[in-house]
Symmetry: C2
Subunit: 348 residues, 2 copies
């Protein structure tokens, strides 16, 4: 029986089976036990509930997340960013295949707040990871669409919990290095990797300010063919540049590596670097401290997002805000006086 069986089916058995099937899709007990057994269908369905805008779905999702929490947190979470054209998909495909060969169970998620505009430019086309998508040890999930940046981030973070509870021990979170996504991803991972290209200056690559400083390491991708020489040159330049930055907590000094997703070279060295950094951070207690700090941050972020959306969503405020904004822009009222006026309105 297909998912498309209409509700108005005249066959009572069909209608009953349909209701049962629909109930299974949202039954928290079934989904929880499925996830804990590593059932990918249950995992997918639960993620769909996380992404749903229906209040009843959100409630079931919260139940599932809280049940999964004690079984989560055991994976290594890696953020990968880089502007379009840098070869993220093919790098993740090559890197992911390597990890699966090492016996890892890999989940690949995406944070792409801009996907409302680009209609899912990252991971949306899973066929770009054609080998990985077929692997039984890999789970690939594109970014939820039609969402705000905060919404995508929250949903991705909840999805990580479910993937970990389902037994995935390595989680890659992909994001595009041009938007707000990197900060969010940086605050949900244990290691943050920046992909770059040789030759293209930053101005051409359009990378956002601050991203270089978040990177735990840099990989110059597409180091193959005639690109090898420029890639090695870029490697030297970035090494020098990164030395001008303060070191990371615990003294970790970001590496600059070269790799070719096409020729599948340099991939092992990337994993070696990540492992080395994480071993160091676990030994220093930074790994755990960082995760606790991230949890605290997400509690605060969720609260603050909600407070702001309550305020700005208030019809009284919506009516007055633009007017005050114009007055503030034109220096006819101070930002502080305008703020007091609007806050007064919202308390009425």
């Amino acid at each position: 029986m297909s998912d498309q069986t209409p509700l108005h089916s005249t066959d009572p058995d069909n209608a009953k089976r349909y209701r049962e099937q629909r109930a299974r899709k949202t039954d928290p007990e079934l989904l929880i036990s499925g996830i804990l057994q590593g059932d990918r269908v249950a995992l997918s369905r639960a993620i769909t509930l996380i992404e749903s805008k229906k209040a009843s779905h959100r409630e079931v999702a919260n139940t599932i997340i809280n049940a999964c929490l004690p079984h989560a947190s055991r994976s290594v979470r890696i953020g990968i960013t880089g502007v379009p054209g840098v070869g993220k998909s093919s790098f993740i495909e090559a890197f992911g295949k390597y990890l699966v060969r090492q016996g890892k169970k890999l989940a690949v998620l995406a944070v792409d707040p801009s996907s409302t505009r680009t209609h899912g430019s990252i991971l949306g086309d899973k066929t770009r990871m054609q080998d990985l998508v077929l692997s039984e040890d890999a789970f690939i999930r594109p970014s939820p669409s039609g969402e705000t940046a905060g919404g995508v981030a929250r949903k991705t973070r909840e999805t990580i919990i479910l993937c970990e509870a389902a037994g995935f021990d390595t989680v890659i979170i992909e994001t595009v290095g041009v938007g707000q996504g990197e900060l969010a991803v940086h605050s949900m991972v244990d290691f943050f990797l920046l992909l770059k290209l040789a030759g293209a200056g930053d101005e051409l690559q359009g990378i956002k300010r601050g991203i270089m400083e978040m990177a735990d390491s840099v990989v110059i991708n597409k180091c193959d063919g005639t690109n090898v020489k420029p890639a090695k040159k870029a490697q030297g330049e970035f090494k020098r540049a990164l030395h001008l930055y303060p070191p990371k907590p615990g003294g970790w000094q970001p590496e600059v590596l070269t790799a070719s997703a096409l020729e599948e070279t340099g991939i092992e060295a990337v994993w070696h670097t990540i492992s080395e950094c994480l071993v160091l951070r676990r030994k220093q207690g930074i790994f755990e401290t960082n995760r606790r700090e991230q949890n605290r941050m997400w509690l605060r972020n969720t609260i603050e997002d909600q407070l702001l959306s309550d305020f700005y969503g208030d019809p009284k405020i919506r009516a007055a805000f633009e007017e005050q904004l114009t007055a503030v822009e034109n220096n006819t009222v101070s930002p502080f006086a305008a703020a007091q006026y609007l806050l007064g309105l919202s308390r009425q």
Copy 2:
């Protein structure tokens, strides 16, 4: 008659004169007309009202700010940052004296949220600018003490408006490159200057991540004596490093200069660079766009600061927050579920 005349004076004339004097200190009409005539005593008193925690003072301060607004915005606002030891005070003294010689009227303010701990490490000791402090064309005001970062930022921004209305055409805002102050200062100035030392690596200078990327130019200070050679070397290194960053809006490429506050060399070149950048930005319309954007940002920031302090200041929340935070840290509840619980409490 001194300010110290006690209220309990038995001389009725004395008491009357005291009351009159006190009223003058908080009379908005008197203070506004004083400020607009460039009276530094009126300016100082009005800033004291801005810094006051008394609600009645805040009210008078708001009246004064709104009256000054149409006369403000005509200055050039320059942010100067650098870690302790880089020679900020002596650089600002030399730079300020140069500006005053050029016929500028200069106000020097400070944003130092950490001053509660360091008891006003910057500008607190005005004697470090002993020539500038005596100049009739310079006005120096230390950071308000005992304040949160948000509080200092707001008060400094309001103080800028008053200084501009009092006829100061150049405003320098000093901050220490180790805290939260730089972001705030960056969002209230037209040009952001970073002071560095030669020889000391960033790790020694303790500069915060992201500050390099905010700089519109870098000055290697203390380029004198045996320091000239390392300063020139550092200049070359920073030039190369800055080229790896994306260019600023309008295509401005940050300069790396050297200067000696001690020998008062390189100071003119710094002003030349700032002027060149600002001429370019005015021509491109970026100067005005940037200021309007800053006003908008300050409206939003003020609203959001207030919403958060209302929430976290709520006794119901204070009692429950730590408990939820611990649960979140230990993964016994998801950050999202904890946030929903706390938001529910605050709405009760």
